[in-house]
Amino acid sequence: MNPTLQLFLIVSAALFCIGLLAALSRRHAIFILIGIEMMLAAAGLNFIAFWRFGPQPAPPTGVMVAIFAIAIAAAEATVGLALVLVVYRHFRTTNVDQVDQLKG
C-alpha cells in the first residue's frame, strides 16, 4: 500500500475525530487536554502531508508551520496543565462538570 495523500488525510481525520471525541466525552481535565493535543497533531499532520504531496521542490512551509504548532502546543499544554493544577487546588477536583462557576 503506497503512501498517498488520501491515506494521510484519512489518518489525520481519524486522529482529529478521536481527539475531538476525547475532548468532548472525557470528564477529567487532563484527558481533555490530551484530546486537544491530538487535534493539534492531526492539524500538523495535514500541513506536512499537503506539503509533502504538493508540487516539488517547494520551500518547507508546511514543516515550518508544523514545528510552530508543536511549539505552541507545548506552551499551551504547560498553561493548560498549570490551569488544571490551580483548578484542582481550588475545587479539589479535576472533573470539569463540577467546575461550572461560569454558568449564567
Binding site: 475531538l20 475532548a23 468532548l24 466525552s25 470528564r27 481533555i32 470539569v96 462538570d97 467546575v99 461550572d100 462557576q101 461560569l102 454558568k103 449564567g104
Partner: protein, 659 residues
Amino acid sequence: MSNSLLAHLWLIPAVPLAASLLILSLSNVRRGGAAVFAIAGQVIALILSLVAFWPTLQTPAYRVWQNFTWFTFGEQVLRIGFVLDPLAAAMLVMITLVSLCIFVFSIGYMATDQNFTRFFAYLSFFSAAMLGVVISNSLLLLFVCWELVGLASYLLIGFWIDKPSAAAAAKKAFITTRIGDLGFFLGILWVYDRSGTLLFYDGGNGALEHSGLLSLGASATFIALLIFCGAVGKSGQFPLHVWLPDAMEGPTPVSALIHAATMVAAGVFLVARVYPLFSLGAINGVTPSLTVVVWIGVITALISSLIALAQADIKRILAYSTVSQLGLMMVSLGVGGVAAGIMHLLAHGFFKALLFLGSGSVIHGCHEEQDIRKMGGLRRLMPATFLTYAIGMMALSGVPLFFAGAWTKEEILHATSLWSVSQVPHYLMLAGVVLTALYMTRQMIYLFFGPRRTAAEHAHESPAVMTLPLIVLALCTVGFSVLLTPAWPWLHDYLSGERAVFDSSRLIQPIFFLSLALVAAGIGLGLGVFLYRRAGAIDPLERALPGLFRFLANRMWFDELYDWTIIAFARATARASDLLDRYFLDGLVRTAGAIGGALGSLTKGFDERGINAGVDDATDVARGFGRVIARRHSGRVQTYLGAIAVGMLALLILYAWLT
C-alpha cells in the same frame, strides 16, 4: 557721566525699598538691625541724590530722562521712565535729608515700642515710594508710586492698630485721598486717550512737550483739573483736607514724614510737575484750571489757619498749619510762581519736620501728653528742644533774614501781587501770614513759657538721638535761607532754569514785599504775645469769643458736615441698595429659582413616567432575553466545546454547499 548716572537713578528709591524688605524679613527682636538697615538705606539714597544733584547744578535747565518699555499690549506700547531735572533733584535731596533726620529721631522716639522693626520697614517703604514719585517720568509710574505713598501712609497712620482711633484715622486718610485719586486716574486715562503717551518728556513726543500738549487741545483744562483732584486729596486741600489732622493718630515721626517730606509734598509736586498742562493756553499767565488752583489754595490756607488758632492738641495745630502752608503753595503755583511754591515746599519740608520732631520731643518729655494747655514753662526743662523749636516756629511764622520761611513767603506774596485776575488772594495771603504768626506764637507760649502746668512738672529733655536730628534740621532751616535771599536767588534761578547771579541791588528791590511780609508776621507775633502772654487753662480767644472759638475748635464742623451729607448719603445709598438687594434682587433670584424648581419637577415627572417607562420596558426585554441566553451557559467547558464543534461543522457544510 550723566548717562551712567541716569541709568542708576532708579537706585534712589530702590535702596530704601530693599532696606524695607530686608527689615520686614527680620524678626521682631532685631531692633538694632532694623534701625541700621533703614538708616543705611537712607544714607545711600541721600548720597545718590547728592550725586544726581551735582549735574543739575552744572547746566541751567538741566533735564535728562530715560524711558523704557514696560509692556506691549497689542499695538499699545506702554513706556515708563525716569527723569532728572532741578525740580526732581531738589526734591530728592530734601526728602532724603529730612527722612534721614526723622529716621534717626525715630530710634529714640520709638525705643520702647514693640513693633520697632515693623515701624522702620514702613518708614523706609514710605520714603522709597515718595522718591519714586519724584523721579517718575511717566504719569503711570508716578501714579503707581503715588498709590504706594498712600498705602504707606495708611500703614503708618494706623501703626498703633490696637487703638481704634488710629485705625479709623488710617481708613479716613486712605479713603479721602482715594476720592482725589479717582479724579487723578481719570485724568491719566484722558491724557492717554488724547496724546497716546503717558511720558512727561520723550524727546518732543511726551505729554508735557509741545506736540503732546497740542494733542490735548481744549480738554487740557479738564485734564488739569482732574489731576488737580489727586493733588487736592494728597496735599490736604479744601474740601478733602479733613484726613490730614486726623493723621496725627500715627506716631509723631510719621506725622513729620507725612507733613514735611513725603505725602503732602506729593500733591504740590504733582502740580509743579504737570505745570505745562495747567498753563496751556495761558493768557497773561491765567488759565481756568490755574484759577481754580488759586482759589482752592486760598480757601484752604485761610480756613486751616483759623482752625489752628483754636486747637489744643500740639500736633493738630501743626497739622492745620501744614494744611495752610500747602494752601499757600497751591496759591503760589496757581498765580504762576512755580519756583516760589516749590521753594516754599522745600523750606517747609525742613522747618515742618523740625517742628513735628520738636513736638515729638515735647510729647516724649511730657509722657505722651499732647494737650498744650497742660504744658508750659518747658524752656528750662527742655532747652535743646526749645531752641530748635523756636527756630522752626520763626521760620514758619516768617521772621525775616535768617529763617527760610520769610524769603519764600515774600516770594509768594510777590507772585500773588502780580496776579492779573484779582488782588484778593494777595490780601488774604497776607492775612494768612498774620494768622500763622499768631497761632505759632500761641503754641510757643503755651508750650515753653508761663507756669508749668500738670503735664510739664516731670518733663525731661529727650536723649541725644532725638535732639541731634532737631539740631541738624534747625541748621538746615537757617542755612537754607542763604539760598533764598533775593540778592542771590540761587534756588529760584535753579528751579526756573537760569544761572544764579549775585546782585546785591536785588536785595533792595523786593523791600516792599519783604516789609509787607515782615509787618504781617510782626503783627501776628505781637498780637500773639499780647493775647497769650497770660494765657491760662482757658484760651483768651475762648473767653472773648466763645462761639467762634467753639466753631473753630470743632474744625468748623467739617467732619460733622461730611457726616451729615456725604456719609449720610452714602449710608442711605447703602441702605437703599441693601433693601434693593434684599427684596428686589433677591426676589428676582428667588422667582428664578422657583421657576427652575417647577421646571425641574416637571421634567422629573416626565422622566419618571415617560422616559423611565420606556427605558424600563427596554431593559425588561433585554433582561428576559439575557435570561434565555444565560440558561444556555451551563458553565461546563465541554458543552461549549461541543457547540464550537457543531458550529465548525455547520460552517464546513455551508462552505461545501456553497462551492
